[in-house]
Symmetry: C2
Subunit: 203 residues, 2 copies
């Protein structure tokens, strides 16, 4: 039997229901339809779940663990997103366009995920239109996220970007994501990140 080192909080299904309920106010029938479409999947750390060039046919809600998305630029990994338990993750562009992914989705830690397939989600939208609202809120959130990231890259200093990261990201991500991945995510050199962290800790 494979052993997964899950050392942190795991999100119970009931917590997922509370989260969904807060977003779209679902009834028992809708919740049952939703739970029938999701599948629990276990992955070891550093597993590429969606590879570059493959079509993302699933999105994930994280029961436990830590993951990131990244792309390769001249052989260098540029991290584009981090997520931990209680959050969603996927390679969104490939998922909604159903075209080959330019990003890679990879576990940082051993992770347990609830997956939902593209086909199952389209059926869910059709059978229970309430979930269209979830899809809309999710697409809007992803849109804001990418616009804010692009703007921060253009206009903010490395220190500002790191302070925003500390403020806006889950403390599990801040604490456990590797420093060189955080640096590429913020668009700064790993040495600059070390200097900024030192500056902040002594100020």
């Amino acid at each position: 039997m494979v052993n997964y080192r899950i050392s942190y909080t795991t999100i119970k299904m009931e917590a997922l229901r509370i989260l969904l309920d807060g977003l779209i106010n679902i009834n028992n029938e809708e919740w049952n339809a939703f739970t029938q479409t999701i599948k629990e999947e276990h992955f070891h750390s550093k597993t590429p779940i969606i590879k570059e060039g493959s079509i993302a046919n699933k999105i994930y809600f994280i029961k436990s663990g830590l993951l990131r998305t990244y792309y390769l630029e001249d052989g260098k990994e540029i991290t584009t997103y981090f997520s931990c338990e209680g959050q969603f993750i996927g390679t969104f562009k490939s998922f909604i366009s159903q075209e080959p992914s330019t990003e890679i989705l990879e576990t940082i830690e051993d992770s347990i995920l609830y997956s939902i397939s593209y086909k199952a989600l389209q059926n869910l939208y059709k059978e229970h239109p309430k979930f269209e609202r979830l899809g809309r809120l999710w697409a809007e959130k992803n849109y804001l996220c990418i616009v804010e990231r692009a703007m921060a890259m253009q206009t903010k200093t490395g220190k500002q970007k790191y302070l925003d990261f500390l403020k806006n990201y889950h403390k599990r991500i801040v604490q456990y994501a590797p420093q060189h991945q955080i640096a590429s995510f913020l668009g700064i050199a790993p040495e600059s990140l070390s200097r900024i962290r030192k500056e902040i800790s002594t100020s």
Copy 2:
């Protein structure tokens, strides 16, 4: 009486219905609810409809005319989007977050627009959940659009970007949007755009 120079096709309400129907398959009741929420507005060319720093409380469907969104970078206008009759436009980030806009929405030509307010759209979502699907598709399209633009900026040559523009944008935009606005939209110098256009026309 103010005179608007509307020289091109105007989109009839029936065409808007066909467009919506193709996206979300609406019935008469839903169509009536939709038409009751929209308002026809007339603008002269070069009118800033949404200003930098104001909250975008409307989005627009273009009945006739040509518009763009742009932002200012060190006093220079960077165009981020063009739209013409039969298409939607707005400063999407401000509209969905209801925070001050960093972009300006401006008419290029005299334009007639159908507007829908943020509040009316939220009511429409609530009363007729079918429109959630429209909101989701719209947010997904905006997401893909911004990701593709960011990727093109990073990876494509000026010529490739211009050829993509010719292929993907409405011929009215290609023909009537000012060259310097197209250049800033493609992230190239106006002189480079002139050279590329000359190259293409002689090849």
